[in-house]
Each structure stands twice: as structure tokens, then as C-alpha cells.
């Protein structure tokens, strides 16, 4: 064994020792006294698992797996090339078609998780405009989600306004909220803005919580209408029948549409002149100003645009749960959305989708671990950030272009 591998094994052993030190207090200290067996069991499993992967990795480093990995890699490359050669439009159509399939065979649980993922995709992409493109740290983003949700909830309860009409209204209300918070604060830079947005998020939640007459306070609002559509009925001649899209498969299609709309809109914004100006502001605000960018107006626009997608997602959330309460809009949600953006890769649309999948689907995966769920979750996130500090799928603009030209 060479020195190099010795070092790696030392690190591995050190890591395992450290892991046990963390693990034991969590699992070993119980109300009935101290115990070692359960924590040792988990620890041994992890140790064996990592040892196995380390072993494979070393074999690969030494070139002993070439007989297998070489053909596999070249196969992967040629598949990648073949896919890359297809026109983007065709790929998009294929992807959308594939996304339309799950409701036909998937169960409640899968649909439920998928809908959640798509809601957060909308939120992540919206926040990405503010954080990823414009470089403004926003810790209260979930407030716009709340504004959108309550806008639809109140309109539906009090005036029975249909969902589809409320969508633009919710987006508009969220944009107005974005401007109200943005106007006095966007002259600040960096950390100050983060604190103020944090405060704003809490203010919105407290208003929702305490304005009893309007929002029914912490009890929330019940009985919100699901989205409805007029569906042609051919049974006796031709009539239009109104149906409520209460069932999960229908809701799946509604949020799929919203998510696709968000992806398309954010993509267009990203590559527009305005998107580039946002990135310039992120890179160097003063320099952008010297180039003739009205930084204040563009930052306000970023804020409002981000809020719009939050508001749309919020309206859908209210229609889907048919119940809203301030408890859905806690700070932890803002932190969650922000983590998706950072984990997936700032300013990268596929990255954020991947980040959302990871953060929504992973905890589902870890459900068996019950109370250690957050531990496993945190560990997984730390490891991902260690190995992919720029995010799971970094934005092309942020790195790959120089390599492309070579």
C-alpha cells in the first residue's frame, strides 16, 4: 500500500471516530440511562458501507476496474452525445410528455411528493431571480408565498372568485408586497438587506396571525375552493360541465403547468438583457451603475419578479390544501427554499430543480429514521456541499463557458 492510500485510510478512520462522537450522544443518551448497542450498530453499518465504497474507489484508482469502467464510461459518453445531438425542442417535448405520465399509474404518495416538489421548484426559481441572478440575500421570501396563498384564500372564501382569475391577482399582490418591502430597503447592501428581509418575513406572518377579522388568525381559513374547469360533456349533446379539480392527478397537472410556465419565464428572463443587468449588479453594483444601469429600479424589478412566482405558487398551495394558516409560512420555509437554490447551484435552472428534488425527496427517503431524519439530512447536505461547492448543477454562465470554447 502506498503512502497516498495510507493517508486516505487515516482520514477515513478519523472521520469515523468523529462520527461516533457525534452519534453516541444522540442515540446513546436515553431517558432509561446510557446505552451503547444501538449507536454501535448504526455506526458499524456506516463504517462497513463507507469501507466498501472506499475499497471500490481505490481499486478504480489503481486501474483494476478498467475492464468494466472504460466501456461503461464510453457508453455513457456516446449516449450523452446522441442525446446532445437531438434538437432541444424535441428533448423538451419528450421531457414534458414524460412528466405528464405519473398520474396515470403513480399512487397518492408519489403524486403528493411530486406536487410538493413542483411547488418548491416554483419557489426556488422565483427566489433564484433575487438571490442567484441579482445577488440580493432574501431571508423572508416565504412571505410572498403567504401573500399569494392568502390572496386566493380570501377571494375564494368571501367572493368565490375562481382560481384562474385569482392567479394573476395573487401574483400582482405578491409583486406589490415585493415593491413595498423593496422600496425602502433596496438602497441597503449585503447583510443589512438580509436582516431586513428576515424581519419582513416575520412581520407578514405576524399580521396573518393577529389580524383576526381578516385572516381568522392562527386558526387559519377553511373551505377554500379547488381550481375548477368547464369540461365538455358529450353525454347528451354538447354541454359544458363545471368540475372541481380536487383530486391529486388533476392538481398534479395544474402545478405541472405552473411549474413549466415558471421555468420558461425564468429561462427567458435569465438570458434577456435584464437578466444580464441583474448579473452585473450581483457582480459589481457600482460598476453596473457606471455602465448606465439604474440599479435601484432593476433591483426592485428583481424583487417584484421573484415575488410574482412566489405568489403564484402560494395561490396554488391554498387551492390544493383548501386550507391556509400562518404556520405554513415560517422562517424555516424561507431557509429551505434558499437551501434549494444554493444546493442546486445559483442561477442554474436545472440545478435548482435538482436541489429541490434533493431537499424534498431526500427527507421522504429518510422517513424510516424518524428522529434522526434531520441529522441524516444535514449530513447529506454537508457532504454534497463539500464535493460540489458550486451546487449540484452549476449554472453554465458561472463557469462552463470558458471550458466550452476550448
Amino acid at each position: 500500500m502506498t503512502l497516498e492510500y495510507k493517508k486516505i485510510f487515516q482520514k477515513w478512520a478519523l472521520g469515523l471516530a468523529w462520527f461516533y462522537l457525534l452519534l453516541w450522544p444522540l442515540m446513546g443518551i436515553t431517558p432509561d440511562g446510557l446505552s451503547f448497542a444501538p449507536s454501535l450498530k448504526v455506526w458499524a453499518t456506516v463504517a462497513a458501507g463507507t469501507a466498501f465504497f472506499l475499497f471500490i474507489w481505490i481499486l478504480k484508482q489503481q486501474g483494476r476496474l478498467d475492464f468494466f469502467s472504460r466501456p461503461a464510461i464510453s457508453l455513457g459518453r456516446s449516449v450523452g452525445k446522441a442525446v446532445g445531438a437531438l434538437p432541444n425542442k424535441l428533448l423538451a417535448v419528450a421531457a414534458i410528455a414524460a412528466l405528464c405520465l405519473p398520474p396515470l399509474f403513480a399512487g397518492r404518495y408519489v403524486l403528493d411528493v411530486s406536487i410538493n416538489v413542483m411547488i418548491y421548484v416554483c419557489l426556488g426559481l422565483g427566489l433564484n431571480i433575487v438571490v442567484g441572478l441579482c445577488g440580493l440575500l432574501d431571508l423572508g421570501y416565504i412571505a410572498f408565498y403567504g401573500v399569494g396563498a392568502y390572496t386566493y384564500a380570501l377571494l375564494s372564501i368571501n367572493y368565490a372568485v375562481p382560481f384562474w382569475l385569482c392567479l394573476p391577482v395573487a401574483a400582482g399582490m405578491a409583486a406589490i408586497a415585493g415593491c413595498i418591502i423593496g422600496y425602502p430597503t433596496l438602497r441597503m447592501r449585503g447583510d443589512y438587506l438580509a436582516i431586513v428581509t428576515l424581519g419582513f418575513g416575520e412581520i407578514v406572518r405576524l399580521i396573518l396571525n393577529n389580524w383576526m377579522e381578516l385572516t381568522n388568525g392562527p386558526n387559519g381559513i377553511l373551505g377554500i375552493n379547488a381550481p375548477g374547469v368547464w369540461w365538455p360533456n358529450w353525454a347528451d349533446g354538447f354541454t359544458l360541465e363545471h368540475i372541481w379539480l380536487k383530486k391529486l392527478p388533476y392538481l398534479y397537472y395544474v402545478i405541472l403547468g405552473l411549474a413549466l410556465f415558471t421555468i420558461l419565464a425564468v429561462h427567458r428572463l435569465n438570458y434577456s438583457r435584464i437578466g444580464r443587468a441583474w448579473e452585473a449588479i450581483r457582480e459589481d453594483e457600482t460598476a453596473a451603475e457606471l455602465m448606465g444601469v439604474n440599479t435601484f429600479r432593476l433591483k426592485l424589478l428583481a424583487y417584484a419578479m421573484g415575488a410574482v412566482f412566489g405568489g403564484l405558487a402560494g395561490a396554488f398551495f391554498a387551492a390544493r390544501m383548501r386550507f391556509v394558516s400562518p404556520n405554513s409560512f415560517l422562517f424555516i420555509e424561507s431557509a429551505m427554499v434558499l437551501s434549494m437554490v444554493v444546493l442546486g447551484g445559483m442561477a442554474s435552472i436545472p440545478g435548482i430543480i435538482l436541489g429541490t428534488l434533493a431537499l424534498i425527496a431526500l427527507p421522504e427517503f429518510f422517513r424510516d429514521f424518524e428522529q434522526y431524519r434531520m441529522l441524516a439530512f444535514g449530513g447529506a447536505m454537508t457532504i454534497m456541499m463539500l464535493f460540489r461547492p458550486k451546487g449540484l448543477w452549476p449554472a453554465k454562465r458561472l463557469g462552463q463557458r470558458s471550458e466550452e470554447s476550448q
Partner: protein, 240 residues
Amino acid sequence: MTPPPILELRDVRSAYGRIEALKGISLAVNPGEIVTIIGANGAGKSTTLMTICGVVPPTAGEVRYDGEVISGRNPDLLPPRGLCQVPEGRRIFPRLTVEENLNMGAFFRKDQDQIARDMEHAFTLFPVLKERRRQRGGTLSGGEQQMLAIARALMSKPRLLLLDEPSLGLAPLIVKRIFEIVKQINQQDGVTILLVEQNANLALQLATRGYVMETGQVVLEDSAANLLKNPEIRKAYLGE
């Protein structure tokens, strides 16, 4: 009969918080000139340029550009009117590509065809940028970044270009090359130039007139040739 100055500062003061950085600056730049401001570190040269552009708001006095008072206006209104600055330390957009950086210089312009032609012109001035057009700005060398910063400002089709220490941290050969290009921009494209420099020798050789600044004030104003001959200047700024 001299034409009215394109840029004029009258007793301009500005401050960072309570600390006054400019204590009454008056200067004028005539169309077609290259004017230089020299002075020690912290004299307020960069502050002067930032005050002209409105990034640092003046507390007193007035800045006139093209016969109009521009002090107190938003900085973003100036490039469309033909006043652009290459700030100290280049300040290119590191994660945007060279091409995108150049496009940012033309941000306020709508004439796509002319923008494309201007970009070609920038590439003939700085051929190295053409090779690197898809590379991120932050991965360029210091000299290339300075060229990018100048080219980016040129994309706004300025009539008056403010240059802040283009020689900062560059090897003598590159500095020479950049100064040649500045001269070319002035003579061929007819851009008036206000140049802030630490390298007083080079700056005074290039310029027609010069101002010497000390602790927020203009202490001397003369033709570049006279300043070069002035024994006190030679002692203080030319290291003799």
C-alpha cells in the same frame, strides 16, 4: 475663441460621512483634450471621478457636463449622454464572459447592428479580447482585464472618458501599450479624456494639461509640458 468646456467642476465638495474628501475642486476639460489629474495616494482623485459620475453625491458646488448641471443626478443617466468612467481597479464583471461584459457597456443602447459593429471595433483595438470572448472576465490577466474595462466603456460610445489609474499593477510594456491605445482613442475617435494617474511621468507626456491634487484640493494647474519641467513636481511625483 475657445469652445466651452465639455466638463466643468466649480468648487465641488464631497464627503464620506463626516470626513470631507474634496474641499472645493474646480477644473475644466475642453473638447478633444487629454487632461490628467496627478497626486499622492488619498489625495481624492478617485473621489473626484466618482463625484463627477454621481456615485458620490457632491455636498456643495456644481458639476457641468456639456453645458448642463449634472450634479445630484443619478449615475445611470450619464453613459447615455456620452460620459463614461473606467473605474479604479478595473471592476469588470468577473463571472460574465468578455462578450457579456462588453454588452453591459452598451446596456442602454438599442441599436443592435451598431453595437455589433462597435464590438468589432473594440476587438480591433484589443485583439486579445476577441480570442477570449467566451471566457469569463475574472479569468483574464490583469492587463487583459484593464483592456476589457476600457473596451467596455468604449461600447457606450463616450464623448468624454474618465480613466482612473489604467496603469495600476501592470508591467511597463503593457502600460505603454494601453497608453498608446488611449492616445489612439483620443486622436482617431475624438474622445475627450480625463486621466487620473499615479504614473505622473507617462500621464504628463500623454496629456495636454494637468492638475495636481493634494488632500482634497487642486494645488497646481498648468500645461503638461510645464508641469513636466516644474522642479517641485519632478521632486514630488517623478522621484527626483
